[in-house]
Symmetry: C2
Subunit: 287 residues, 2 copies
């Protein structure tokens, strides 16, 4: 039975751990200084708490953290792996731009650690469903096969290190970007008295887009704060020369405003729920 190490026991990290554990693996994590919520979630998933240095004993180390923490995690792993004769490969699964991924890989310069670029597309694993999909690039030796053997859906990409990150940026740009676009326009319709006719016209002439917004906008509220950094990362990925970068700087602003509203007052949330006919207006959702 292999040991995996997962750094990050958030909603995604702990659910990925649970999938591996349910298939017979052991998943190590370090919980020093973590919140009570994180500790409870890690234990519920069956993760094995160990000391920081012991994470290096796993056969594969996964990083599943918010984008802003990805490089720090890599530095930590480079540190605990240094001096080991056969350190475990390191798989970054975070929503970071390919250039950030290159910077991250450079933190392992001179070490024997094999660095893999990964991206998770889809929500956290749920019992009975096969998703999400883990895309992995830079994995010539198929180190990620171990994840497949223990219940995860993995697709290896031919491209060089960074291809999985690029895919994630593009996918999130379309998927989450559309949610930001929809939220911005529904709020504008609400304040200009066009909400009702807009919703009716969308339902009639763009039913697919309407369904997507009706489901995904309420799902977004508790995640808006995380999506701010993701949108900025997509803007960086597109680069200054691409006018698309401006779109995502605007998206970051839209999600930032929504994140503030979720924390304080839920005025915009109520406006959106009213248009969407959603029930979540009164409910507080755990971030």
């Amino acid at each position: 039975m292999p040991d995996f190490a997962i750094i990050g026991a958030g909603a995604m990290g702990s659910a990925v751990a649970k999938r591996l554990i349910d298939h017979g693996a052991t998943v190590l994590t370090n919980l020093e200084g973590r919140s009570e919520l994180t500790i409870a979630r890690a234990k519920a998933a069956g993760m094995a708490p160990v000391g920081r240095e012991e994470l290096a004993k796993a056969e594969l180390i996964l990083s599943i953290v918010p984008p802003a923490e990805a490089i720090g995690v890599a530095e930590f792993v480079a540190d605990i792996s240094s001096g080991l004769s056969a350190p475990a490969p390191f798989l970054d699964l975070n929503a970071i731009a390919p250039k950030t991924m290159q910077t991250l890989a450079a933190r392992f310069g001179g070490s024997a650690v094999e660095v893999l670029d990964g991206a998770i597309i889809g929500g956290p694993p749920v019992a009975g469903k096969s998703g999400p999909t883990l895309y992995v690039s830079g994995d010539g030796a198929a180190r990620s096969r171990l994840l497949e053997d223990y219940g995860l859906r993995v697709r290896r990409l031919d491209g060089r290190l960074g291809a999985a990150s690029a895919l994630k940026m593009c996918y999130a740009g379309i998927n989450k970007g559309f949610v930001g676009l929809g939220a911005a326009m529904l709020l504008a319709a609400s304040r200009s008295g066009a909400a009702e006719s807009l919703k009716a016209e969308l339902a009639e002439s763009l039913p697919d887009l309407d369904r997507k917004l009706s489901k995904s906008i309420p799902d977004m509220y508790p995640k808006a704060y995380r999506w701010v950094a993701e949108m900025q990362e997509i803007a960086d990925f597109l680069g200054e020369d691409d006018p698309g970068a401006t779109i995502f700087r605007g998206m970051a602003g839209v999600f930032s405003r929504l994140a503030d509203d979720v924390e304080d007052g839920r005025v915009l949330v109520r406006q959106l729920d009213e248009i969407l006919g959603s029930e979540s207006a009164g409910a507080m959702v755990m971030p």
Copy 2:
């Protein structure tokens, strides 16, 4: 049989005219100084060319022109209507922001002309289909009923003058904005080697959005140049205080780049077509 006047015999204006004519109306237009293409299109639709002043004799005057020309058309109609004891109502059907609509209405200050705010949602009328929908606000006296009587689908909005323009801005922001978002991300995927995996993942996990992009991106190429101004108008509509305005300034940049490419080289068009598996790469489409 009523006479309508339509200012603007573009693809939309001439198709709206044809629908009215097919239902028995006469549609006046002025073709002085217009291109051969426009003249041919107006004649094919059965529009009746008349002198500029004669347009004022119609029972309802419609403006269907690019957003940048909307105010100029209003000034012209105010001019030819001045001095008439019972001038025809004027219906602006252009994709302009509510504030632009207010400015436009102010051009009729002191005159007896009734100004109506309209917006067309959907493509040009086609025989056998009931769309598009004409939304009209500020129409207390139901002047737009005449259009309904002659084969067009009309919905009157309760809101004040500007509500139809607001609806159009919001709808176009979602519909065309999504096309711009998708094009920007597909191009980014293409240059970072993630195009194939992105397309496969979209088809699998977001089939509705994938279908929309596959159809709407190729349809957009010949219209990209017009969408630049529409995106800027949406940014103005949202206003400086709304981070969503930044999204649409970026969209204007994306469509501007695509419009240049359509005119010169079609390099980006070919990249998009390759991802989408579309056939239009070699075909030149009439703008």
